[in-house]
Symmetry: C2
Subunit: 155 residues, 2 copies
Amino acid sequence: MGRTADYTNERCSVAATLEVVGDPWTLLILRDAFAGVKRFEQWQERLKSLVSHGVMETRRYSERPPRHEYWLTEKGLALSPVLLTMAEWGDRHVYGRDNSPVLFTHKACGCAFHPVLACEACGEVVGRRDLERSSRQADSLTVGEALEAANMAAE
Amino acid sequence: MGRTADYTNERCSVAATLEVVGDPWTLLILRDAFAGVKRFEQWQERLKSLVSHGVMETRRYSERPPRHEYWLTEKGLALSPVLLTMAEWGDRHVYGRDNSPVLFTHKACGCAFHPVLACEACGEVVGRRDLERSSRQADSLTVGEALEAANMAAE
């Protein structure tokens, strides 16, 4: 159940995200964190990695004995679209929508929430075919270089 | 680099998606598949798993010698929001938007594409705080049961 691969030499933002949350257990920790769980004594090693990447942070909740909780940072909270789109795919293609183990309601409209992607600039709903992809892979940083730069910027 | 965990006893659509695409290498294969790559002799084992889950399918492109390509199915293409939201997070939080290795353009509005989530029902852009979560975990299928049911339905 350890890390399964090293993406530091890839030049790709998907790989960059996997380098941080690439151990699948990591995503289940984050799922639980979004659901409000804050204490995971059994997952110390993985939590250390998430803290070192700035995705979670520790907050002390007891002085004697010293105890702390793990909270999502802003950077961690920004992973919610990844988890919501994963949950939607699992609902549709594994469970079937009628059997979803967890339901989300869009408070404003009152409907069961199913995410679609929209364009941040114009707000329109966007499908795969509405996008044009252009790569500048050759001269871009590797994941390892980008993580190093991001960690230095965060210090 | 093998599978890192068994999610079949979880009751959760995130875990269900991880059970299918949970090995992080799987997501990089899918990234390449979305980018048009169709032949991956080096990744046979992982591809077999994706084919068995109906995420990719083989198509023969040469009779002599017999050769085939791997194509995304509809079920596989439905993973594009997961990959796009992962790429967006890596862009924002690892690479920085100005250094993204791959750019997407929203053809209709001409802007650089950055995904946000919208509600399928009402089309409004939705953030984490706009959602209410309700669990019916106790009586729902495990991932293993749901996958079995999904595979039987697909036959």
